[in-house]
């Protein structure tokens, strides 16, 4: 650990400036806000997956002392407008997404009424007094069943449960499949997951009647996008709207959305003339905050006997749930874009059908479409290697583009800007002591144990992204200000919520300015100070937000050189700058520091002609391309024969996210990301029963990793800078999740391979593995009755 005092901050494992307030209970999350006269909202939700609302009685609730008012869809939907979705497939059928249900509910958790009261407890009591007469309708929870002719319709007026179709096709797929020595086929299931940020959602809205301005504090990843989209719902002009995100207790994509409660609280704050707060409960979070994944794909990989992969085909169904949130239809298309992974495939056909079911909407959850691609492809690679009798490592190496082939144009139409997949794979093998690991597996197998090794070589699409591929701008904004005192304020348009950019951005800015980090404050998450921004998702914040700040710093330095030149009697070209000091070349003793220059810039008595006062600059960074981090994960796992329990014996992760601004934070992101995948592979799943009832509605039934589940990691890195931004950085927020998934699954499947088990769908629950083991063991016993001891 190096001290934060010395300069040269970039690349140092500096402890975070955010932490002291968070560790002492002095940070402000939304639920910590208390405004004078604040009212409390509670939302009544449907217990039915699908039903007609025959009647709604709110009188008793309204009569409860302390209740301000109760609103139903009939009383609020007109005023609140429809929840926006950014996707625009040509054939997309989108239901009208009102804030409260109209005469029909179509998922468990569908908001039906909202109560506003003097306290949270009164609001909660009032919910019990609302009477709703539901007439249940048939529901469909299984996306494959939803496509059958006789299926109940989630939206009867659509006449179908198909929301859209999407096709990505390139190259001579049929020809290459005809040339293939073998076709590897596998049905791949990505179970639905619930993001479960430990802080549920919540918001407080406050309206200033005199100014006509509204402030919304909300636990979101995207205050700027909310400010762009909310005016369309509630009729407050964008320039009268301020969105503040205080601390956010985790998002993982689940807070990358504009939700009905944000619109309702904003509307009600205006309507009732008092601040309105709503805090989501955990059960509400489980049923009415977006879910992730939920894809089923029939995959086919065409290969030659020597291990060359030729082409890939997939017919994929994405279960969208019952309506569209901001990015719902877009997420599964990312699976298509990344389906060629690290390999030189010659053709692709990815057919996607988005399907409505009576469930909560899916949307971005950590990795968002890319873990689905990586998992499918890396499973196929292992299955192919097994069928061809090839070493899975050699098979991968055979199909990687060479380091000299970058930018590498994929068959899916992307241009990977940089890469050296061989190096990351080699490093991971070294860190895993590969040969010793193979010996360990041999020994374990000889002893009758189910021990396996799995790897995944993966590439991500991060740093989203150039505006041309984004619905509403893919740039990022940053502003840097040298204050009169010489202190530095950096303002980012990204919205960190745990990633630590108050620290890493101070490192970037401090490094370039030559200013101690202690003198820098990074502001984020308030549209009043961060005038522009496209926020935090898709591993973009450091890549784009960091670059926007760096550009601003460079503008200030250029300006300061002019000022320094004027003060020192030289032209700007003759001014040297280093370590926070400006001097005329060759005369370092007579140097000016930022403090002095700031005073001059703002007191403005000695400015050169045509020199604007002040030392502030802002910048929009528009990237030319996304970034493409990559890496290799290697996992050794053992399966207990009698229970199906999985133990991770070894975990090695090598990620190449380019130069690391703060390796400590990089490691934290990787470990956190891996934990999400560990959960998905081994036990996490959102379960609806056949009637659309949510059975994992609380932490009592939704299994997430706890400390006891976590292996000790060996984490390494390689550094292949991205040419797409001046720092060469690539983003790391989702790498763990994207890389881990197939590595763990492949290890478990390798452990079971000696029994002849080919594939088990995620999650690899003990019972599933036990059943597979029992079945195969029984078969083996039949075949050779005497070999069993």
């Amino acid at each position: 650990m190096k001290s934060a005092k010395s300069n040269g901050y970039i690349g140092q494992a500096i402890k975070r400036v955010e932490d002291p307030r968070l560790m002492q209970g002095r940070a402000t999350f939304v639920d910590d806000l208390r405004l004078p006269g604040m009212l409390h909202a509670a939302v009544l939700r449907s217990p039915h997956a699908h039903a007609t609302i025959l009647g709604l009685k709110t009188e008793a609730a309204k009569a409860l002392p302390g209740v301000t008012d109760v609103f139903t869809g009939a009383e609020i939907n007109q005023a609140c407008g429809l929840v926006p979705c950014s996707a625009s497939m040509p054939d997309l059928k989108a239901p009208k997404h009102t804030v409260l249900a109209g005469d029909r509910v179509y998922f468990v958790g569908h908001p039906v009424a909202i109560v506003v009261a003097a306290s949270p407890s009164i609001a909660r009591d009032a919910l019990d007094l609302i009477e709703v007469d539901y007439d249940p309708l048939p529901a469909v929870a299984n996306p494959e069943k939803a496509l059958e002719k006789e299926s109940p319709l989630t939206h009867p007026d659509h006449g179908t449960n198909v929301a859209f179709t999407w096709l990505l096709a390139n190259g001579d797929v049929d020809g290459l499949f005809a040339q293939a020595d073998r076709v590897i086929k596998q049905r791949i299931v990505h179970q639905r997951l619930t993001p479960m940020a430990i802080e549920p959602r919540g918001c407080v809205a406050s309206f200033h009647a005199g100014e006509g301005s509204l402030t919304l504090w909300t636990s979101t990843q995207i205050p700027h996008l909310v400010r762009t989209l909310l005016p369309g719902m509630i009729g407050v002009a964008e320039n009268k709207l301020r969105i503040v995100t205080p601390e956010v207790g985790g998002g993982f994509g689940s807070k990358l959305n504009l939700y009905v409660e944000e619109a309702m609280c904003s509307h009600l704050a205006m309507r009732l003339g008092a601040p309105v707060k709503w805090i989501e409960g955990r059960r509400e979070n489980a049923m009415a905050t977006i879910h992730g994944r939920d894809q089923i794909g029939e995959y086919e990989l065409a290969v030659k006997n020597d291990g060359t992969v030729l082409a890939i085909k997939a017919r994929t169904i994405a279960d969208l749930g019952s309506y569209l949130q901001l990015l719902t239809p877009t997420i599964p298309t990312l699976t298509g874009l990344m389906i060629s992974g690290c390999y030189k495939l010659k053709a692709v056909r990815f057919e996607l059908t988005g399907v409505y079911t009576n469930k909560m909407a899916t949307d971005a959850y950590r990795g968002a479409g890319r873990p689905e691609a990586t998992y499918a492809l890396e499973r196929l690679m292992d299955l192919a290697a097994a069928e061809l009798g090839l070493d899975p490592v050699k098979m991968r190496l055979k199909n990687f583009p060479k380091p000299g082939e970058f930018p590498f144009h994929t068959v899916t139409g992307l241009a990977y800007d940089s890469g050296n997949y061989q190096r990351a794979l080699k490093k991971a093998q070294d860190l895993a002591s590969w040969d010793a690991l193979l010996e360990q597996r041999d020994a374990a197998r000889q002893a009758g144990r189910l021990f396996g090794i799995g790897l995944s070589t993966y590439v991500e699409i991060c740093g989203l992204g150039p505006s041309k591929i984004m619905a509403a701008g893919g740039w990022e904004w940053g502003c840097v200000r040298i204050e009169i005192s010489g202190k530095v304020t950096a303002i980012t348009g990204t919205t960190p919520h745990g990633q630590g950019q108050e620290t890493s951005f101070a490192q970037i800015v401090g490094d370039r300015l030559g200013v101690p980090m202690d003198d820098i404050v990074v502001l984020r998450g308030d549209t009043a100070s961060a005038h522009f921004g496209r926020d935090t998702y898709g591993s973009r914040a450091t890549v784009l937000g960091g670059t926007a700040l760096l550009m601003s710093v460079d503008k200030i330095i250029a300006k300061a050189k002019i000022l320094a030149g004027a003060l020192l009697g030289a032209s700007a070209k003759k001014i040297d700058f280093r370590g926070g000091k400006f001097w005329v070349k060759g005369k370092p003793k007579n140097a000016l520091d930022w403090k002095r220059l700031a005073q001059e810039a703002y007191v403005a008595k000695n400015l050169p002609a045509n020199f604007e006062p002040g030392l502030e600059a802002s910048s929009f960074f528009e990237p030319k391309n996304c970034t493409y981090p990559f890496g290799t994960h290697i996992v050794a796992a053992e399966v207990e024969r009698e229970t199906g329990d999985v133990t991770i014996v070894k975990y090695v992760a090598v990620d190449d996210c380019g130069p690391q601004v703060n390796p400590l934070l990089v490691e934290g992101q990787l470990q956190g990301g891996i934990a999400h995948s560990l959960g998905q592979v081994l036990f996490e799943r959102t379960v609806y029963d056949g009637d659309g009832q949510l059975l994992t509605g609380e932490f009592t039934d939704y299994s997430m990793p706890r400390a006891r589940d976590i292996p000790e990691y060996v984490i390494g890195s390689t550094v292949t800078p991205s040419p797409s931004n001046p720092l060469g950085i690539k983003g790391v927020g989702e790498a763990g999740t994207i890389g881990a998934n197939p590595a763990i699954a492949n290890a478990v499947m390798d452990a079971l391979a000696p029994l002849g088990i080919r594939h088990v769908d995620l999650p690899l629950l003990p019972e599933k593995l036990w059943r597979a083991i029992e079945e195969k063991t029984a078969e083996l016993r039949k075949k050779k009755p005497r070999s069993q001891s």
């Binding site: 407890s121 009591d125 009698e642 229970t643 039934d701 939704y702 299994s703 019972e767 036990w770």
Partner: protein, 281 residues
């Protein structure tokens, strides 16, 4: 997250508590450590009119040796049991099971008596209480009553405790070290999918086996016990007996484990627990 409103009473003596229970009847709930009741209150699954807090009644939290048995006060926390040197020495199954209950925070507040009275079919304690042939001492308007563990658990969330009775004490025998608890945990909730508690009496050549999490109530695996009675605890004998651990039981199935897998785990964990206990003899 916010319970429905209720009246709160805090008796100082057991007698007072029994009187309040008689007075308020079915509309009242007793509050011990609160780690079964309060979660139900918060979800409004339980909405009693009155909550009678027995947490301030003196001398309900103790672990002491009396007449060759160990008496554990109903309000003794899981943590106190986990940490008890007396139990470690004289009845080590209780501390071993305590370590499996909930998490540290839950163990610091939750009580043995509260858990037993709640009779969750997947709670850990019933397995141990059954395997130990414990006795449950209650007090009611008609005075104290002693109930044998094997007739205490009646059904899902249902015990032999009468509505006007309060559980006061649990009495367990002094045992050797040859005990064990083997549990497959429902990883989300921490409850048991299959928890098997075993007491091996080497001298008498008998074993007793209590199983929780598998059926609608915890049960004694009598078929296992009968098979092993008088037999040496060889691996073969244990395996043969453990195979009967789910005989004549209707195992539960849910999203975490099917009935078939639960029955398998009952048998497997019985075999393993017997093996561990035998190795400690």
């Amino acid at each position: 997250m916010i319970p429905a409103a209720f009246d709160y009473l805090r008796p100082q003596t057991l007698e007072e508590a029994v009187n309040l229970l008689v007075q308020h009847g079915e509309t009242a709930k007793l509050l011990a450590g609160g780690h079964s009741l309060i979660p139900a209150l918060k979800l409004r699954l339980a909405q009693p009119k009155t909550v009678i807090d027995i947490g301030r009644i003196a001398d309900l939290s103790y672990i002491r040796e009396e007449d060759g048995r160990i008496a554990v006060g109903a309000m003794t926390t899981h943590r106190a049991i986990e940490a008890s040197a007396l139990l470690e020495e004289k009845c080590p199954l209780l501390p071993e099971v305590a370590r499996h209950v909930g998490d540290v925070q839950v163990r610091n507040r939750g009580t043995l008596g509260g858990s037993l009275v709640h009779a969750d079919p997947a709670a850990d304690w019933p397995a141990a209480i059954l395997a130990l042939n414990a006795e449950v001492v209650t007090v009611g308007p008609k005075g104290p009553r002693v109930i044998a563990a094997k007739i205490f658990f009646i059904d899902l969330f249902q015990t032999a405790l009468r509505p006007d009775e309060i559980l006061r004490e649990i009495r367990v025998p002094v045992t050797a070290k040859s005990v064990a608890y083997v549990k497959t945990v429902q990883r989300a909730s921490g409850f048991a999918i299959a928890g098997v508690a075993v007491v091996v009496k080497a001298a008498a050549k008998t074993v007793s086996v209590g199983i929780t999490g598998v059926a609608a109530k915890a049960y004694r695996a009598t078929a296992v016990e009968t098979k092993l009675a008088g037999q040496p605890l060889s691996a073969e004998n244990i395996a043969a007996a453990a195979a009967r651990a789910a005989n004549r039981i209707e195992p539960l199935g849910d999203i975490h484990a099917s009935a078939e897998y639960r029955a398998h785990l009952a048998r497997l964990n019985t075999r393993r627990a017997l093996g561990v206990a035998a190795s400690r003899a």
